[in-house]
């Protein structure tokens, strides 16, 4: 187990370092800078140079990188050039929108996927299973933003049940904050649940062929109760990996849904900062997201090892044929 933890930690740190370099260099090679954006169309070359000098944009890249990363490691994520806001505070505020949104979508998607994927596996040879398969294919094909627009048109505009967009802060009204997230969460959840359903189905089909399921049947369990009581835990191992990866990409990928629903989340902040060439904001937000994804992968690896004891030993990890 110690080996697993150390290996995962090493991967996390190396990935974070390489990711920070990629973010730093990437923002500098895409063209344009924040001085152009701040001063607008009528900016004179002299004015642009002066602003770049004031912001340190003409310092050597190594200096700029060190200034940024050393501040980041101390907890100082920098300030927006154009607006002056503190990046760390802004990220914290926006995480209160993006994290609940991603978590609600992921949890609901996973629960639905476990139910529908298991049902699909148990009904693999009949019409019910075929219907679940078809519905999950449609769910995978539906783009989140299109679903979001459809939901707004029906639920908000026509039926006036939920807000069409915007976000009321948790402090002002937890209930209104939750209502603001329902439709965006559904828009995100549907394709997620559809993908996970496919994984659960495949995984459960493999588990249903195992000897211990046959034993459980012989002892009087129905196929369904054997699957749920004895098979689900084993079938869920790959789901843990998939869910962990999906959650990481969800945090960064909520941007389209945030735009459709006007949610002030992390994705929207990132897009605004890229368009405004706010290098510090993009770098810091990007690195925070990267670290969160890496931490999720780290936790997934650990959870994997907890769920499957075979992975805790080197022999177990190499497989049943490995020499003692």
């Amino acid at each position: 187990m110690t080996r697993v933890v150390l290996r995962a930690l090493g991967t996390l740190l190396l990935s974070a370092f390489l990711g920070s370099i990629l973010l730093f260099v990437g923002m500098r090679i895409i063209g344009g800078d924040v001085a152009n954006v701040m001063l607008g169309k009528s900016a004179t070359p002299a004015a642009l140079s002066e602003v770049r000098r004031q912001l340190g944009l003409d310092d050597p890249w190594t200096t700029q990188y060190w200034d940024w990363i050393s501040g980041f490691l101390r907890g100082d994520l920098g300030q927006s050039y154009a607006s002056g806001y503190d990046v760390a505070s802004e990220i914290a505020r926006r995480l209160l929108v993006t994290v609940p949104l991603a978590l609600i979508a992921m949890v609901v998607a996973t629960v639905i996927a476990l139910i529908t994927g298991t049902a699909a596996a148990l009904n693999a040879s009949n019409r019910r299973g075929a219907v679940i398969d078809a519905v999950s294919q449609i769910g995978i094909a539906i783009p989140s933003f299109w679903l979001g627009v459809l939901l707004v048109g029906l639920v908000s505009v026509r039926w006036r049940l939920l807000p069409a967009g915007g976000f009321v802060s948790w402090g002002a009204s937890p209930l209104e904050a939750l209502r603001s997230l329902v439709l965006p969460a559904i828009a995100l959840m549907v394709p997620l649940a559809a993908v996970q359903t496919r994984y659960v189905r495949s995984s459960m089909l493999a588990v249903l062929d195992e000897d211990y399921i046959r034993t459980a049947r012989a002892r009087g369990h129905t196929m369904r109760s054997a699957a749920l009581v004895h098979g689900l835990r084993n079938a869920s191992i790959p789901i843990v990996t998939v869910a962990g990866l999906q959650l990481g990409s969800l945090l960064a990928g909520t941007v389209i849904v945030e735009v459709v629903f006007g949610l002030p989340g992390l994705g929207q902040l990132l897009v605004t900062a890229v368009n405004g060439r706010e290098v510090i904001v993009v770098q810091s937000v990007g690195l925070v997201l990267l670290v969160i994804v890496l931490l999720l992968n780290f936790c997934t690896d650990l959870l994997y090892a907890i769920l499957d004891p075979r992975l805790r030993t080197r022999r177990g990890a190499e497989g049943p044929e490995a020499p003692a």
Binding site: G31, G32, S42, A43, L161, L162, A164, P264
Partner: protein
């Protein structure tokens, strides 16, 4: 276990039955919670009309309808949030749209038909052959209660003179001295007479801010206007609250809540869902509300001009016949219809309707036959078109129009910051570009901005206009300057863009123009009792 008939019942079946009941109960409970969350949160907050008026309600707003004094909060959806509110450093229209005249007032303002009117300067007189202006100030206070004096005006003008933002500092290029005569009088001395100086006082160059407040403009702009800048949540929106110490006529509205929503469909959806009262809209966003008597679309003139610009430093484009061919190849109506969605009027010069010197005369008209001939003579087969990716519709129109006359267009889309650097930067790198902006003919004085064409004859006409003895001569000479430049066809103007806002048909008081400040004027807006 046994059933009611006494027959044994399998324990497994009994367990299965109980589990089915539990599952059904759980599903029912979850559904109930979901419906409860949806229903008991209440409808949208605020004061949108919730009752649809009878069909057949008039779609044009009468001059003045009875005001609904119970509805004093306007929820406004806008698409562009500025990075900060410092209008001295940045010429971002997004800043002026919200704070112009609402929060920070100008010394003079323009009426809807373009005439200069007093505002913070209640009167002015000229002296020394037009080289001196003496402005007498209103008894106004800033939103913190402190009185506005000539010291604040002098401070403001000094800030603008020193600014690196050419849009604001150019107004003071000809100024030699600014002084406070007394607490309510400011004297400005020019190096030579300038007709444009007074007009500039109706733009951001005429904003009055409190002495010493320039540094706080970024996050908390303050002025003498009827609305105070109360709070700003970046990426979300801001709130303006009515300033009850305002020196002039107090607005009916007590609160304006501006929400920043970049997507047009999202703005219209929130309008339709009752979360917003008024939204900025592009032509494409309007169909869902057309024909709905609860909403009305208002169009107003802007200073925004759409045009095709040619890089004068590119040797291929030096041939005037080639440029004439390009000017004749593209139908302005196609731009107005295909790009602006009908929200525009044809324009051929770099002066907007309502500005001195405006004319609707054109040096060249749409003539594809002539264009084909001229372009064939010039022997140009391919041209490069660099543009901001948001301008793809303009690029579509230009590409297909030039294809009709035998020229292939190689398209080079760019995002905004890259475009600003490559086209509007120190070394413009483009051949053709499509753009729009509120800049008028003065922006193209030598060295010719990003086009790089220096027309000394035009500059002379603009200089003569500035020192002309009368407003009539001023306008006439500016018109000549604009037509002179249009003839060279380095900048082919197509249209003056109109802006649409869509909102509740219960609103009134939306001005038909936002020239020259690009402000969206909340001062006269109110809800009416009819049509709510």
């Amino acid at each position: 276990m046994v059933n009611v008939a006494g027959a044994p019942v399998s324990r497994r079946r009994h367990v299965g039955t109980r589990r089915r009941s539990l599952r059904a109960a759980l599903i029912a409970a979850l559904t109930g919670v979901a419906l409860g969350v949806a229903a008991c949160g209440g409808g949208s907050s605020g004061n949108s009309g919730t009752t649809a008026p009878a069909a057949g309600t008039a779609t044009t707003t009468p001059a003045s309808r009875p005001v609904d004094t119970s509805k004093t909060t306007l929820r406004f959806g806008f698409f562009q949030e500025p990075p900060n509110w410092d209008f001295i450093a940045s010429d971002s229209t997004a800043i002026k749209t919200i704070i112009g005249l609402n929060v920070i007032e100008t010394l003079l303002q323009r009426s809807d038909d373009g005439k200069l009117q007093p505002l913070l300067a209640k009167s002015y007189k000229t002296g020394d052959g037009g080289r001196q202006y003496e402005l007498t100030l209103q008894d106004a206070t800033f939103q913190d209660g402190s009185p506005m004096t000539s010291a604040d005006v002098v401070y403001s003008m000094d800030q603008y003179r020193k600014s690196k933002n050419a849009t604001i500092s150019s107004a003071y290029k000809g100024v030699s001295k600014i002084e406070a005569v007394d607490d309510h009088t400011v004297r400005v001395t020019l190096k030579q007479p300038s007709n444009s100086f007074l007009g500039a006082l109706a733009t951001e160059a005429g904003f009055v801010i409190k002495k010493g407040s320039a540094a706080s403009l970024k996050t908390k702009p303050m002025g003498t206007g009827p609305f105070a800048f109360s709070s700003w949540r970046q990426g979300v929106g801001l709130t303006l609250n009515r300033y009850d110490g305002y020196w002039g006529k107090k607005p009916v509205l007590k609160t304006v809540k501006v929400s920043y929503i970049t997507d047009g469909t999202a703005r219209i959806n929130q309008l339709r869902a009752g979360q917003l009262d008024l939204v900025f809209a592009a032509a494409d966003d309007l169909p869902p509300i057309q024909g709905d008597p609860r909403f009305k679309t208002y169009e107003y003139t802007t200073a925004e001009k759409s045009y095709l610009a040619l890089n004068a430093k590119d040797p291929t484009l030096k041939d005037p016949k080639l440029r004439q061919g390009l000017a004749e190849a593209i139908d302005p109506k196609a731009i107005i219809k295909g790009v602006l969605g009908g929200l525009g009027t044809p324009l051929c010069v770099l002066i907007s309707p309502g500005e001195p010197g405006y004319t609707n005369r054109c040096a060249y008209s749409f003539d594809p036959a002539s264009a084909k001939e001229l372009l064939a003579e010039a022997g140009v087969k391919t041209l490069r078109l660099k543009y901001i990716s948001d301008f793809s519709k303009s690029a579509d129109v230009v590409s297909s129009a030039l294809k009709e006359v035998g020229v292939t267009v190689k398209r080079e889309p760019r995002d905004l910051p890259t475009y600003l650097k490559e086209v509007l930067g120190a070394r413009p790198d483009y051949q053709l570009t499509v753009l729009s902006g509120p800049q008028s003919i003065d922006a193209w004085r030598c060295p010719g901005w990003f086009v790089g064409y220096c027309d000394k004859a035009m500059d002379k006409l603009l200089d003569d206009a500035d020192t002309a003895p009368s407003p009539g001569d001023y306008a006439r000479l500016r018109q000549q300057a604009a037509e002179q430049y249009a003839k060279q066809s380095y900048v082919r103007v197509w249209a003056s863009a109109k802006q649409a806002v869509a909102g509740s048909s219960a609103l009134q008081g939306i001005r038909p123009t936002i020239v020259p400040l690009s402000e969206f004027d909340f001062r006269g807006i109110s809800f009416t009792t009819a049509g709510s």
